[in-house]
Symmetry: C2
Subunit: 341 residues, 2 copies
């Protein structure tokens, strides 16, 4: 089954050097020799051995993405990344690169897996997600001189790498603006750990907008939970027990909102009627929930494509004009108004 370049050479009675050159489209090979090689390759079902090629070229032609279940949540994972990965893979494939996703264990913060990928040279570059405010992965990669790009910002690594993020800060502010314009002044925020940079940004925007409207930020209206259904469920009652009850809640994401709405329902509070609800990162769940939840929709697949482009531009082997090396982009989050606020 496994036919090598030697098989082709023997079959055609030419040297392996010529076969390789023909396969790789080099100029110094006769046109019909090339054709014969190509035909034979098809006939013998030839495909280059990736290990041999990588070894010789010092490049694997593949990009690694690290996927990891939420800490504290082994039940279900993050559907968020699938469309992003689809876009990423599509663009990388255009340049002949494979995308491989390496799974990490739930708790280990990826450090070990990352080292393993880098040191055993399993990939030519890495794409990071779930960036933390201070992110040791980024420090490690910059210090090791290994190419990478991130989905999400961080303060680590001197920002000398391509990164693409969503404007969670603006979304947080927009959510507040919208609620205030509808008469709300007691607005709660349910967020994940501030260590997660998007959580930090969301709350930063939320605070800023409140102040702009002359509303004092009440710490009792901000609560932190695990970034899943259980987190929202546990934490939402806490803000509802504040002296002066909130009339609106902004949730970081769909899962937290789902858990939160469950808690509200158990307290006899109906989202969309008795309280306004907005979620920052919109998903199909928000759309099909009853009431349909107002949220901000990210363009995940285009983002995947774009980050691939930015990463490619930073790789010497693919770089275009020198000027376009490091890029940092922040994409807007589009408000989808529905029934919950």
């Amino acid at each position: 089954m496994a036919s090598s370049i030697h098989d082709l050479a023997r079959h055609l009675n030419i040297s392996i050097g010529t076969v390789s050159r023909a396969l790789n489209g080099r100029a110094d090979v006769n046109a019909d020799t090339r054709q014969r090689v190509l035909d034979a390759a098809k006939q013998l079902n030839y495909a280059p051995n990736q290990s041999g090629r990588s070894l010789r070229q010092g490049a694997t032609r593949s990009i690694a993405f690290m996927l990891q279940p939420h800490p504290g949540d082994l039940e279900y994972g993050e559907p968020f990344f699938i469309p992003f990965l689809t876009g990423l893979q599509a663009r990388l494939a255009e340049s002949g690169l494979d995308l491989i996703v390496v799974m990490g264990a739930p708790g280990d913060y990826q450090q070990e897996r990352l080292r393993r990928v880098v040191e055993t040279r399993r990939a030519d570059a890495v794409v990071l997600a779930w960036t933390r405010r201070e992110d040791e992965r980024i420090d490690y990669l910059t210090q090791a001189g290994f190419p990478f790009a991130t989905l999400g910002r961080s303060r680590s690594g001197g920002m000398a790498y391509p990164s693409l993020d969503l404007d969670f800060e603006k979304a947080g502010a927009d959510a507040v603006d919208r609620l205030v314009s509808r008469g709300h002044r007691r607005i709660a925020a349910i967020r994940p750990s501030l260590d997660l940079n998007f959580g930090h940004l969301f709350v930063a925007g939320y605070r800023k907008a409140l102040r702009r409207h002359g509303i004092e930020v009440d710490p009792g209206l901000i609560a932190e939970g695990f970034i899943n259904e259980a987190g929202g469920y546990q934490v939402t009652p806490r803000v509802m027990l504040a002296k002066d009850r909130p009339t609106a809640i902004i949730f970081n994401n769909d899962a937290m909102a789902l858990g939160g709405c469950k808690a509200l329902a158990e307290m006899g509070i109906r989202p969309g009627h008795d309280i306004a609800v907005i979620v920052i990162v919109d998903t199909p769940l928000c759309r099909y929930f009853s009431p349909a939840l107002t949220g901000f929709r990210p363009a995940l697949e285009p983002m995947g494509k774009r980050l691939a482009e930015m990463l490619l531009a930073s790789l010497p082997a693919f770089a275009g004009p020198e000027g376009t090396r490091i890029m940092r982009e922040v994409w807007p989050l589009e408000l989808i108004a529905r029934d919950s606020d």
Copy 2:
């Protein structure tokens, strides 16, 4: 940064052969030579180049899993697999194997990507999911003699491979039993394409149980939709317009149920009050939905571990006693009774 076995040898003034033997724990190397090598390896931050090793050994020490967004759904993907992959990766890591997930484009049915992985020898074995009733991927792999295992059954490939599946047929039947015992006789089923084997199995169990109870199967109460929120939303009204309205609906999975409940809500029908709802594959969403949805919970992470074990047992390099080669297991689905039925 990248230190090779030659660097170690030069540094210690011994031959690369000895270094390699020391690193690989072979017997014919002096105890303190080994210790010196190990120390130097740590000091020089040595990690074996994966390409070199694979090339020499003819094995990559990694297993591939194919992940692919739903056809017709580029918005969000399948969180189902994350805990499964976590279990898979954990068990594989114990045997020194890496798990890589290769992303496919949404439409391409994986055939091309699969060929690519196999022919370029990027992995030593493959794990397949979303098995179809007749699955050309399985045919291809068996015919190519490439090791693999599947999450889900199929009729393809002569069953000469390890596979692990959930008992969707029994779950379908159990759901019917439960509903009948609560007085329902008009029970609808919302399913995905019958080509997806779990969809087929679920409906088979549903039909069988109905007949056992002497209830005629009404084709008007079975509807097919995309296996996502939109699918459930589109298709649910169809069964509700049957002459003799159903009093209960069984949904294939959470996303379809979410869409279906939305459609019901718009018709003024309240799940748990006006109609009973059960979903086959339970998720946290079911638990936190209002009303909480009765469903059947799979043990995803243990399943990942188990399938890894079965796959390992089928690989010559890892096989234990010869007798334990091909295994096929079907795991039960545990009913979680909640408020929706």
